[in-house]
């Protein structure tokens, strides 16, 4: 006689499990909770990572940003505490002296501007002057029109690319705004594009609040002279930004008589470092998630094993009767292990299903304009892996109790209850 898997076997298993419903339920709950936590945490972790990545969206991950600040060290006869500014010449200086750099692009920004279209007003906008190559640093997500180009800049055209919020406030009726004029500080600019970017990582404030104009126009309109505020650059493929930053700092500082060791005077932001930190952070978070999840799951499985042990002891007579009327030890072993597998699987599967439902709810909650922000859902194969892991754990949990059940002799059934 061999172990059969048919409806009969299954009914036997169900009968045994349903006989003690609340106990089976509570036992299964341990496994359920373990799987639920594991799936929920791993799905959630994935989603949050994606959401964070969304924040970085459209932002070159190997960018370095330079920003001039008050000096903190005396240098070459200059006292500390001096204010200084980078100039337009620094762009060419870097570009020429450091062939490893891909793009070098300056920006200027003016905060708290009010943008007017007819009698509609959008306040707290940021006017930002850039060049065409700035698009390589912070990629615009253009809903309408185009970005600033080199001709705009060379001819100092009064054109602008507006951010999402500015667009929504100035053009509540929607539609393509290109060619329409808006007014900032008494000057009229025609809209040439709408930038739909909304990433959380931005330079000079939120992209949604931006009105981007050609930098030459900005310098002229706001009398900025030769000064620039930020100098952004990216490295060519194959270069590590951290290796390049000391030289960039050196070049800029020497040109302006600033101590190259003065870290306060020239603030340097290397995004590659930040991305690295975030990446490592999520690796750590993932590790902890699996540690907690698997730990909880293991505790649940130990619970199943424990209860099966109690159950076998309780059912000594029943198992003895079964043996007396012809069950082989192997059949008994099979039954106990099957019970354990079924209990573990059913509990685990409901854990998976429940976590999938919850994660689906989270996805719905974070959805915006019907577009999925980040996939929180557990990947299909992770769920499959979890399911097969559960089956294995079921066998492991059932093994000890089953071996004990196998040792029950039919004579035990005859002893008076």
């Amino acid at each position: 006689m061999k172990l059969r898997f048919d409806t009969d076997t299954f009914r036997e298993i169900l009968d045994s499990l349903l006989r003690n419903k609340s106990r089976s339920f509570l036992t299964g709950f341990g496994v359920f909770w373990g799987v639920f936590m594991l799936m929920l945490l791993s799905g959630g972790g994935r989603g949050f990572k994606q959401m964070l990545n969304n924040e970085f969206e459209g932002f070159a991950q190997n960018t370095c940003i330079l920003f001039a600040n008050q000096t903190s060290k005396p240098y070459k006869g200059f006292k500390e505490g001096r204010f200084w500014e980078m100039t337009y010449d620094d762009v060419d200086r870097l570009k020429n002296l450091m062939p490893e750099l891909e793009t070098v692009s300056p920006t200027v920004a003016l905060w708290g501007k009010t943008v007017v279209r007819g009698d509609v007003v959008s306040s707290r906008a940021v006017v930002k002057g850039t060049r065409a190559d700035y698009a390589l640093i912070e990629t615009p997500k253009l809903k309408y029109g185009r970005y600033i180009n080199d001709t705009d800049n060379a001819q100092e055209r009064k054109v602008c690319v507006i951010g999402k919020r500015v667009y929504n406030e100035l053009f509540p009726e929607g539609g393509d705004p290109c060619g329409q004029r808006i007014r900032i500080d008494g000057a009229y600019y025609s809209v040439i594009g709408v930038n739909w970017n909304e990433g959380g990582i931005n330079i000079n404030g939120n992209a949604a609040d931006m009105v981007i104009i050609p930098i030459n126009q900005a310098r002229k309109a706001y009398n900025l002279g030769n000064a620039i505020q930020l100098l952004c650059f990216t490295a060519k493929e194959g270069f590590v930004m951290s290796d390049l930053t000391p030289r960039a700092r050196e070049i800029i500082c020497r040109a302006h008589y600033v101590d190259p060791t003065d870290e306060q005077a020239l603030f340097l932001l290397n995004t590659q470092l930040i991305f690295g930190i975030v990446d490592n952070l999520f690796k750590g978070v993932n590790f902890i998630i699996w540690l907690i999840g698997l730990g909880t799951l293991l505790a649940g499985v130990v619970g199943v094993s424990n209860i099966m042990m109690v159950s076998v002891r309780e059912r000594t007579t029943e198992i003895g009767i079964r043996r007396a009327i012809g069950a082989t030890p192997r059949q008994i072993l099979g039954q106990i292990i099957s019970e354990s597998i079924v209990l573990t699987l059913v509990a685990g599967m409901s854990g998976i299903v429940f976590s999938v439902l919850i994660l689906y709810g989270v996805e719905l909650g974070t959805m915006e304009d019907g577009i999925l922000e980040a996939p929180f859902q557990v990947p299909f194969w992770t769920a499959m892996l979890a399911a097969s892991l559960l089956a294995v754990l079921g066998v492991v949990a059932g093994l000890m109790p089953a071996l004990r059940a196998m040792r029950i002799k039919p004579v035990d059934a005859m002893r008076d209850e």
């Binding site: 043996r323 012809g326 069950a327 192997r330 005859m414």
Partner: protein, 238 residues
Amino acid sequence: MALIELKGINKTYNNGQPLHVLKGIDLQIERGEFVSIMGASGSGKSTLLNILGILDNYDSGSYHLDGTLIKDLTEKQAADYRNRMIGFIFQSFNLIGFKTAVENVELPLYYQGVPRKKRHELAMEYLDKMGLSPWAHHFPNEMSGGQKQRVAIARALITQPQIILADEPTGALDSKTSVEVMGLLKQLNKEDGITIIVVTHEGGVANETDKIIHIKDGMIGEIEENTRHDAWGGSIIK
């Protein structure tokens, strides 16, 4: 050859102090006999029954069941013999509480791998024989002692065994149901020719059988022929 043939069976229990329970049992039981084994408690009659039922091993001697030597069987072989050759009836009925009467009767066939439908039909047939078909879907705790024992008998019969081993089958029953159950066993012996061995310590029960084997201190004592059912002065049960 006799259906059951025991030669020089010895059995010692080694639970702390060695206990020599069976001291050289020689016994032959022919096909179709209705036998009782009588003895006081501690006489070794239950041990003998366990050995007959292949529930327990013996230390020395030989036990032939239907010509096969029953010795050092694997658990699997033992289970198979029990399943096909022997039907058990216990004092405490030993029905499985969470299964209905018909499911209990089906169980031996389940372990034989008989398909569900056929199993169910057969079980209903045997329950009907016991006059229990209206109770087929009741659970043991909804039935009287006599009914439970009849379910147990149906379960013992369903594999069409050659032997029925009954361990104090009336021990938990009142005298009226005891008579009924013994009558039922007698009928099975007469009509279906099943060999029946009853272990008891009650004279009245033993008197219903055709042969009474007395066992005392682990040895076979007197073997009474009782075809006229007048042992114990033809006493009634209890």
